[in-house]
């Protein structure tokens, strides 16, 4: 058993020093956030304790915008430079964004039941535009799985990624543009109506969930990179491996190396 075996096996993952630092921030920050959200922060005069859902719902909603904006940036950069790195960024951010967007819808629905007495309201423009945003990026991910030439698929996906991100300002400002068609309130975090500890708890929630978002994004990027490496180099590697195996088999059959050289005994043995 080699002394280096543990070290070699330890690197067979997508972790690195930066992701371990992020992991440490998450490990410390999550219990702090839970204490702030459930114990130390006050209840709201109107929503009572249901306000505690703000500290997860609002951060994941903001991070959804960040994720899909990053997809758009990666898509534009890919179309401009043709860089595989940017295409992988766009793809990874879209998948993480779909997870966060789904959580925005679910946590919002759970929050809506005690606050508005409904799980879902089709007449609410913020809810419907967020659902459309979610479905567009689910479609983006589905499109990326369609078998096609990688370059063509990446270019078309980039166009979808850019068009999808145009919805972000519509979702963000829908409650102002169609203020009579929504149950959502406007600018509750910035209008000065929230208590300081409520704002601080939201800020910690944003930091902790932001660290989780970044950790997921980095790992998702590396998984996508590995998948691409296997797709690109897998066939070449397999051919080389088979060729090496075949050469070993021939060596054994003739009793010497088959590389064009004459054995030192002139092939008499």
């Amino acid at each position: 058993m080699s002394a280096t075996a543990p070290a070699e096996s330890a690197v067979e993952n997508t972790g690195s020093r930066s992701t371990r630092v992020l992991g440490a921030i998450i490990a410390v920050g999550t219990p702090l956030l839970l204490l702030l959200a459930f114990v130390w922060s006050p209840e709201d005069d109107v929503m009572q304790d249901a306000v505690r859902l703000l500290y997860i719902h609002v951060p994941v909603a903001i991070l959804t915008y960040v994720a899909f904006s990053l997809t758009a940036v990666g898509s534009v950069a890919y179309l401009w430079k043709g860089s595989r790195w940017w295409d992988t960024v766009a793809h990874s951010a879209a998948e993480v964004g779909v997870v966060f967007c789904g959580l925005t819808l679910v946590t919002g629905s759970i929050w809506g039941r005690p606050t508005w007495n409904t799980w879902w309201e089709w007449g609410d423009v913020r809810l419907v535009t967020t659902l459309v945003l979610f479905l567009v990026y689910v479609g983006y991910l589905a499109f990326r799985r369609v078998p096609a030439d990688p370059g063509v698929r990446a270019r078309r996906a980039a166009i979808i990624g850019i068009i999808g991100a145009l919805q972000i300002p519509i979702v963000r400002y829908s409650v102002q543009w169609w203020e009579n068609s929504t149950l959502h309130q406007q600018g509750s975090l910035t209008d000065g109506k929230l208590e300081n500890l409520t704002l601080f708890t939201w800020f910690i929630g944003q930091v902790v969930l932001g660290a989780i978002f970044l950790w997921l994004l980095v790992h998702r990027f590396r998984v996508a990179w590995l998948e691409d490496e296997i797709d690109t180099h897998g066939l070449v590697d397999a051919l080389e491996e088979r060729r090496a195996e075949a050469m070993v088999g021939v060596d054994e059959a003739v009793g010497g190396p088959v590389d064009g050289r004459i054995p030192s005994d002139g092939g008499q043995s």
Binding site: N13, Q48, A50, R52, L53, I56, V60, R220, V223, L226
Partner: protein, 48 residues
């Protein structure tokens, strides 16, 4: 605490989903890393 069921459900779904997604990424990363030489894993060639 008022609305305790909704609050716990919302947080459990949120953090639980993120934990499951993170775990699935780690598993996929481990499986794929075994198939790719370390010199083709960009993050293995720097201190980041």
């Amino acid at each position: 605490m008022t609305h305790a069921g909704y609050i716990i459900a919302g947080w459990s779904v949120g953090l639980g989903t993120l934990a499951l997604y993170g775990w699935s990424l780690i598993r996929r990363g481990r499986n794929l890393s075994r198939q790719v030489p370390s010199d083709r894993r960009r993050w293995m060639t720097s201190d980041d």
